[in-house]
């Protein structure tokens, strides 16, 4: 019985890509919480909710990409060809995951900056003080 290298490549691709996505999403979920709790002024329930929603979006986009990028477009007939195709596909998935991860960090820091700005005190000291009639 001959081995269908293409199907084996696809299987490896799916297992590796999905595991990587889960790993990055869990890292994001665990470490993003601290940021969000701070942003929402200690409201842990709201932070958890936003955190979960962000992670769901992250899963959808990444798994969507993994699924769309599955097809190789050429036949694989040897173990060597399989490994080469796999490394190329997984490489692109890693770059997409990296890009998405940094985008998420950007979103977190942007949300946080907003909340820091909201409570920032006046940046300059007054020249004098006067009484206000009324």
């Amino acid at each position: 019985m001959s081995v269908d290298f293409l199907v084996v490549t696809y299987c490896f691709y799916l297992v590796i890509s999905i595991s990587l996505t889960i790993w990055v999403a869990r890292t994001l979920f665990r470490n993003g919480r601290v940021f969000l709790v701070d942003v929402f002024h200690g409201n842990a329930a709201l932070a958890d909710s936003v955190n979960r929603l962000l992670v769901v979006g992250f899963y959808l986009i990444n798994l969507g990409y993994v699924s769309l990028a599955l097809k190789l477009g050429y036949d694989v007939t040897s173990a060597r060809g399989s490994i080469e195709a796999l490394s190329q596909k997984v490489g692109v998935v890693l770059l997409v995951l990296g890009g998405m991860h940094f985008f998420n960090l950007y979103v977190f820091s942007r949300i946080r900056r907003r909340s820091v700005l909201e409570v920032a005190p006046p940046p300059v000291v007054p020249d004098a003080c006067v009484a206000r009639a009324r």
Partner: protein
């Protein structure tokens, strides 16, 4: 709440005031013409001659900010520009801001007439 005392005789200042008025804010702002009866009634102890020379902003607790500081406070009150205000007010950038604002303030009537003549040409 910030009270902004602006020069109502200068077109540039009136433009700046209406721009400020339209911006989303963290802190509410009220605008009073500098040197007006209303300004004198609100702040009897203030040097009103000085408020006609330079933009003056007064905080809710009576804190008086003038010149570049007044501009920083106006930006600080705005949602979209608070970050700019914080960047502008660092020791490295404040001297430059002070110089630019002093120049604009000194030449505001000339700038106003320049803007108005350009505006008239654009309309005709």
């Amino acid at each position: 709440m910030l009270t902004v005392l602006y020069d109502s005789n200068c077109a540039l200042c009136r433009k700046a005031r209406s721009w400020l008025q339209d911006q989303p804010k963290f802190v509410e702002m009220e605008f009073v013409a500098a040197g007006s009866l209303e300004a004198r009634r609100l702040f009897p102890d203030l040097d009103h001659a000085a408020t006609l020379r330079d933009l003056t902003v007064i905080g809710g607790g009576g804190e008086v900010y003038q010149r570049a500081k007044a501009w920083v406070m106006c930006l600080w009150a705005l949602r979209e520009y608070r970050e700019t205000a914080l960047k502008l007010s660092t020791p490295e950038t404040m001297p430059l801001a002070r110089r630019i604002i002093a120049w604009v303030s000194r030449h505001r009537l000339w700038l106003s007439s320049a803007i108005e003549s350009v505006g008239l040409q654009g309309r005709s």
